[in-house]
């Protein structure tokens, strides 16, 4: 039994938590990485609900929970939880209980979307070619979240700097994963973008 990302694994291939992944080594600099195997959970709840309090971040912001889960406020009353492949974020269970004042739902969307990470000092210049949102630090600093069109695909974009290096997570509809990955690579060719293999940094 093997699960696959919509993005064709390049270079040497291995298995992580039942997913086929690329094991290409990191080379540093500007790079693109397929993290689709990560667990992705969509939470919907009222913005003033108990669940919202537990999740603890407003629309447009992201934070990391103690267990390493990335919590991103992707919409009004909507959150995306990202945790390591094969895991289930503890937060999702905490909020699962019914809230009589507002409907709360938790949907596993791990298989519904691609998740890719674009990192490097030039990542802003790459994304600026295919996304109309202002990516300056004043408007979208580290920890900012927005949903917009990236290369004509609707994506959740999370600015999630990696050890001081500018980095973006892009999450969108799985079927367009290969297309978007290629579009980012094309936009990054001017800056010598590279592909790096799957890694378990987030969890």
């Amino acid at each position: 039994m093997v699960a696959r990302s919509p993005i064709r694994a390049r270079g040497p291939v291995g298995r992580e938590h039942g997913w086929e992944v690329s094991t290409t080594a990191r080379k540093g600099g500007l790079e693109l990485c397929d993290l689709t195997p990560y667990s992705k959970v969509l939470v919907r709840a009222g913005v003033l609900s108990k669940a919202a309090e537990v999740l603890g971040c407003a629309l447009g912001l992201a934070r990391r929970a103690p267990d390493g889960t990335l919590v991103a406020g992707t919409g009004p009353g909507e959150w995306l939880l990202v945790s390591g492949a094969g895991t289930w974020p503890a937060l999702a269970d905490e909020i699962g209980g019914g809230d009589p004042t507002a409907l709360t739902t938790v949907v596993d969307v791990t298989h519904g979307g691609f998740l890719i990470r674009l990192s490097g000092a030039d990542s802003r210049r790459v994304l600026e070619k295919i996304c109309a949102i202002d990516l300056s630090d004043g408007v979208t600093p580290d920890g900012a979240v927005f949903r917009s069109s990236v290369a004509r695909i609707v994506c959740d974009v999370i600015r999630d700097d990696d050890g001081g290096v500018r980095s973006y997570l892009l999450h969108g509809d799985r079927s367009a994963g290969q297309y978007l990955f290629d579009a980012v690579l094309d936009a990054g060719s001017e800056f010598s973008i590279g592909i790096s293999g799957y890694r378990e940094k987030e969890a």
Partner: protein, 92 residues
Amino acid sequence: MIRIPCPNCGPRNSSEFSYFGELGSRPAPDAVDPAHWRHYLYDKKNPAGWTTEKWYHASGCRKFFAIERNTLTNDVKSGRPFGVESSSEESS
């Protein structure tokens, strides 16, 4: 390209939105006569000036909201969301 003030996401390019036309109200389906119903379906005021419109932020928050837009100048007054999504209504 004009910008549409999404009440959730702030101003965004209009290409992120779907336009759903002038805001109207749906007649009660049982009491309505054809003329009245088709007025609801097809007759738009299309004024040269301020009008209230429904937009959908398809590439963003996926919420419907209303804005007032001046069709002559494309000036837009801030959007307001529908229904219970706004926190003020939920807290009341």
